[in-house]
Amino acid sequence: MKTFKIAHLYYDLMNLYGENGNIRYLKQALEEQDMKVEIHFLTINDQIDFNKYDFFYMGMGSSDNQNIVLNDILKYKKEIKEAINNDKYFLITGNSLDLFGKSITKNNQEYKALNTFNYFVIEEEFRIVGPQYYNCKLLNNHNIIGFTNRNSLLKDGYNPLFNVIEGTGCTIDKEDTNEGFKEKNFYGTYLLGPLLVRNPFFTDYLVKNICKQNNIKYKEPNQNNFAYKAYYEYIKNFYQDK
């Protein structure tokens, strides 16, 4: 049986919003496909071997904690780029997405970031806060729900994961519907918290692809599980007829 290894990166610094929910839900979903799943919690001062894992997750942290992580993660610049090129999975939520661009500008000072992708990030004085409703081209008929609370704007080099139906995308420009970043198996979004729990169909999409990549026959999940009901209930209460 395949042992699928998940690395929860900087789990104790980038953990403002119930991020643990993502990994716990993903683990359960993969186990339903008869996979054995291991979760490794990694943080600064750990030697992170990017070859060892199949899936990397990082969540949202305070601005101070993001600084600490930025200082540490830069030493893995090459390994991260390689891992993405080798089709490893990355799920990056909230302001951890900032780290993968060319630079982050805070208080008029520019800090070099991982330079994995071509975008750059500017931290504003205002915050973008609120519920979000997105379309995702990867899914048939199921929109994405979630929440954002951040002060960073992502500029240039768009390759969006989602498109805004209601809410705010990478910039505050109303015409701009780009949200998040996708390349190969890198999935990044400014949505915070337990994205995979709240969007079970998105999780199913990831799991299906993981199965395919590992030559495992995908079994349709049991949609009686409460996460699907919570998803439908939320859409019904807040976005019906949209």
Partner: protein
Amino acid sequence: MLSLSIIVSKFITFLCKIFKKNGTVYPGYFVYDILRQPHILEKVKYPKYVIAVTGSSGKGSTTELINHILTDAGYDVCYNKNGSNGILAAMTLVLNNCNIKGEFMHDVLLLECDERHLKLVFGKNKITHLLITNITRDQPPRNGDPDVVFQDILKAIDKDTKLIINADDPLVNRLSYQYDNEKIRYGVAKTEDSYLKSNLEIADFAYCPKCHTKLTYKYYHYGHIGNYECKKCGYKRGNVDYEATDIDFKKNSIKINNHNIYLNKDVLYAVYYTTAAYSVCKSIGIDDKVIEDAINKDKIASKRGKVLNLDGRNITMLESKNENNLSYYQSIRYIKNQKGKKTIILGFDNVSRRYKFNDLSWLWDVEFELLNDKNIDKIFCIGRFRYDVITRLSFANIPLEKIILVDDLSKLIKMVKEKSIGDIYTMVCFDMTANILKLIEDDENENI
């Protein structure tokens, strides 16, 4: 302009009374927005003691107790009794208690104040004593993250402000090296409920604010609150000026610096507000004996946790603040510490009553795992987000047959009576508490 503002505030308050409107905020709004006097409070002649109480939780109870002790000690105290703690309510309170010359007419202004509004209420040089209870994740859509909150509090500190700080909170305790002000540090010693490892592997690890090394804990009380030390730079909780020890919830008693003190509620947060109030009163020079008498002899009832009855089963209403995982944690801890079989009612219709945002992420930071307990008979999930709640509970190792979904709230009482046993605990937010109270009342009336 000050005199005019005072007259306007008093006049609007008078009108509110006549028309039976809530007059806590509106007079302040009139002065702030319509007269455009956002800084008018800086002109008030304040009394000798201006005490502000701020922090993510515990403000209200601490303020009540400080008022009780100071009043008992003979001070004429003016405080925001109704718990309305923003700038507009503060403006109303202060202006209404000034004479026409702008002189504040009481010995003490005691203000429970929202963390983000503190800087708006007080210009520099006004707060004589500032108590900070804790800084934890609380209402993130409004507050950003804890760093943002902390930076805002700093803006209200003047060099002459005496700081009374909860040293068990490494984020608050930063003040002990960042500011040279006179300081009193308080804390709570290890209790029976203290722990070293939490069920939630990732929540609330704290890093040293000085050198960013992970803090080492001797024990946690909850969240990042506990006894910590940085092995690299030496930043630590250490010895505090006022420490609660010998915590005995069964006898409702603690010791503060070896004085026996009564606890009006058998929960940890009561230990905190009692120790905090004690420290504040000491900082303005009140004698231990006077404080002891005020707390021990003239006991005040705690405001939360009304106990009702349903067919001979006690119902305890524990209001738990949404978007504040530690508020829920303390309710869960309280329920666990009670004897006998228990039934829990859990859920909400709206995440907040302040804004319409529905961020549900905090559900995953609440340690619901503690509810996997043989004495818990049933958990009833109510409210518009009951499926989100049950999804979370399904990951907390609680057997699903113990969890009951209530689709129609009007059936709740009937279902609780038929399907569960033991004392009943509601762990819900403010709006739901009112709904459930109504259901219990209706049920009582039917049975008469």
